[in-house]
């Protein structure tokens, strides 16, 4: 069995800052991480491999530094990592990304064996579109199983898979033929810690690095900015809250009283309102 997991290296959105003057995202010093949803996809793939045998290939498209995320995925115990990197890919929207990734998955099939299952996270935390997974499925003609919470059963001989899909109002139990594409929900499993052996192997592994040409993409006009019909009209930051912390010097008063007095001084109406509310108690 061969499983391909598509992951994305994303800026850690918890640590993103917005430039106070230009309103653009300040990327300096913002660490990058594996898109958190993708971790559940990696773990599910590794579990299936451990149970049924086979190989797990991790695939990403991004700048050369995205190999950091691939190496990390190898540390978890994945067998192989492929980095799709080329200047032609810069500025890809979800359409161009799914085109490039599906081409690479086809190529991976030729070189390392056809994929039985393709995994992605349900969406990324930087784009939040949830379009790339279904885009790949459509292009490769795979059954798409989105928002999957659990792989319940896999019958390799019978070429079928059974999954639990979270849907509005309940859980759907779906059976699908292989090959298929699964987008994994969060919280469904917990990413493992690779053994010392896995970690050593990952540190020494070569990340397979492919250009557009290597991945067998003949038409680069479908890639990157040129292949992306999405246009970003405007980027804006939500107005930051203007409140500032204020230091209160108790100056002999009990600290709690000093604090409450300082609050009432800033919001005179509040005192009357609270007095009104507390009347009768």
């Amino acid at each position: 069995m061969h499983i391909v997991v598509c992951i994305k290296q994303v800026p850690d959105s918890a640590q993103i800052r917005v430039h106070p003057v230009t309103n653009t995202i300040m990327r300096q010093g913002v660490p990058t991480i594996i898109n958190p949803y993708d971790l559940f996809a990696i773990e599910e793939a590794l579990r299936l491999r451990d149970k049924f045998g086979g190989e797990v290939t991790i695939l990403t498209m991004g700048p050369p530094m995205a190999s950091d995320s691939l190496r990390k995925a190898l540390t978890f115990g994945a067998d192989r990592a492929v980095l799709l990197t080329d200047r032609f890919f810069a500025g890809s929207d979800t359409l161009a990304t799914s085109f490039a990734l599906s081409s690479a998955i086809t190529k991976i099939g030729e070189v390392f064996g056809a994929a039985d299952i393709v995994f992605t996270g349900k969406q990324t935390i930087d784009g939040d579109t949830a379009q790339v997974g279904p885009g790949i499925a459509k292009r490769l003609g795979l059954t798409q199983l989105t928002y999957v919470a659990k792989v319940a059963d896999l019958d390799l001989a019978g070429r079928s898979i059974e999954v639990h899909r979270r849907a509005e109002g309940g859980v759907q139990v779906l059976k699908s033929p292989l090959p298929c594409l699964i987008t994994m929900l969060e919280g469904t499993n917990e990413i493992r810690r690779g053994s010392m052996m896995d970690a050593l192997r990952a540190a020494r592994a070569e990340v397979v690095t492919w250009s557009a040409k290597d991945a067998g993409i003949p038409d680069v006009t479908k890639c990157g900015l040129r292949g992306s019909p999405t246009v970003v009209k405007r980027v804006f930051a939500p107005t930051p809250r203007a409140e500032k912390a204020q230091f209160v010097d108790p100056a002999g008063e009990p600290p709690a009283d000093a604090l409450i007095n300082a609050i009432f001084k800033r919001a005179p109406k509040l005192e009357a309102e609270l007095a009104e509310l507390s009347r009768g108690y």
Partner: protein
């Protein structure tokens, strides 16, 4: 357990660990480096200032790729009381040289780059891998390490302990004591983000020029301690550190001191409008020469902060770390090339080479300084700054008081605060400790 045996295992991927790993890997040794952080630098919270000279000896062309913030063209020393500071300022265009001598850096980014160099040289670097304990034979010889990963025991000819100031592995294995509270400072630091143009305007900088401010005085409330302000490209690092033993005695909190420092009228305009994005605390070795532990033994050496190598007077830590790491790497390579075993007797070479370097020579020169500043901390950090500030104000204020009376009042205030014998004694002791 891992079957494969390494020539050397380096614990930690800070300055000392990276220098050691790189030095050995470059010479063809089979090196395994273990770092508990998510990536090298992820756990690091140093200020930080980089001294080019020592890094050049390890990575000659580092300026081409290393993430450097600003090269320092101006150094300000502030002696502060609660409302003012008396300053000494040195700025020189000479520092705008082709290969500047000092840079501010952000360690989280710098260490990542440094580690890439280590990996390029052929060392195996594993992050998110914590060494739980040293593996020793019954005689105490270090055979390798046990990590927190499954099947995590690995052996090597020699283990380089670059585990940082409060490294528990060495002390748990009985190789050295944990640092004493009077020999370490607890420093707290915040990163304040501002647009780079604002920083450049506020600190009078062109392009990548940078400023360093070091401040002492009443900000440490009579304890041995200093504050610092460093300019990065788009942020300002501000922090303050005091001896742990002093903090314990006084009951002052480090964050309380930092808050007061930030609200000092001399500091407020520098930080105005900034956004705090990071808050960190860190121990700094301050014990100097007398606090250096045993540096080597059967199958192990200790480098950097873990070896308490820090020049508190000149605020040099990371370069002593890099240099001790490099020297340890060179010593290990020499022993390995002679095919000698890594016994304490043979590893003594590291100590000998370190003694001959500026590292130990500098620390020896100031060996009495920590004790002096510690025992007389009230005078040096509270009384004198207060007196000097008062003297300056008396000097510059024009108020119709005859100058001769002003001078007399100043002399009197010094004497009454600290008897003549005390003043002379402090000056004498300071001079002797500096010599």
């Amino acid at each position: 357990m891992i079957e494969e045996k390494f020539d050397a295992i380096v614990i930690g991927a800070g300055m000392a660990g990276n220098a050691a790993a790189l030095t050995m890997a470059k010479r063809g040794l089979k090196v395994l480096q273990l770092e508990r952080g998510e990536y090298p630098g992820s756990k690091n919270v140093q200020g930080a200032i980089l001294y080019a000279d020592m890094l050049e000896k390890i990575v000659p062309d580092f300026r081409e790729e290393a993430p450097l913030e600003r090269h320092i063209v101006e150094q300000r020393f502030w002696m502060m009381n609660d409302s003012s500071h008396v300053g000494l300022q040195y700025r020189s265009d000479d520092f705008n040289e082709e290969k500047p001598n000092r840079y501010t850096i952000v360690r989280a980014q710098f260490d990542k780059w440094f580690s890439k160099e280590v990996q390029k040289a052929g060392a195996v670097v594993l992050c998110e891998t914590t060494v739980i304990e040293l593996v020793q034979d019954p005689q105490g010889k270090v055979l390798g390490v046990r990590t927190d990963r499954k099947g995590g025991e690995v052996h090597a000819d020699v283990v380089v302990l670059a585990e940082g100031v409060n490294g528990l592995l060495g002390s748990r294995a009985g190789l050295r004591e944990r640092p004493a509270p009077e020999n370490v400072a607890l420093a707290v630091k915040e990163m304040h983000f501002l647009p780079r143009e604002t920083i450049e305007a506020r600190f009078n900088l062109n392009g990548d020029e940078g400023v360093v401010i070091e401040a002492a005085g009443t900000i440490s409330k009579g304890m041995t301690g200093v504050g610092f302000i460093y300019t990065n490209k788009e942020s300002i690092s501000i922090g303050l550190g005091c001896l742990v033993s002093d903090l314990k005695k006084s009951g002052q909190t480090p964050y309380g001191l930092l808050e007061a420092f930030k609200r000092h009228p001399s500091v407020v305009p520098l930080l105005e409008g900034s956004e705090v994005k990071e808050y960190a605390a860190h121990l700094i070795p301050e014990g100097g020469y007398n606090a250096i532990p045993q540096l080597y033994g059967d199958g192990w050496v200790v480098v950097g902060d873990a070896a308490q190598l820090n020049n508190a007077v000149h605020r040099e830590g990371s370069n002593l770390a890099m240099t001790s790491g490099r020297i340890a790497g060179e010593a290990i390579f020499q022993i390995k090339s002679r095919k000698d075993p890594f016994t304490a007797e043979n590893l003594k070479l590291y100590k000998k080479m370190l003694d001959d370097s500026f590292v130990i020579k500098d620390l020896k020169k100031y060996k009495d300084m920590p004790a002096l500043l510690h025992t007389s901390s009230k005078n040096f950090f509270l009384t004198y700054p207060e007196l000097i500030a008062k003297a300056m104000q008396t000097y510059v204020r024009v108020d119709g008081v005859p100058k001769i009376d002003k001078e007399k009042a100043t002399v009197k205030s010094f004497k009454s605060a600290r008897s003549l014998a005390g003043l002379v004694g402090d000056a004498f002791r300071f001079a002797r400790a500096w010599r």
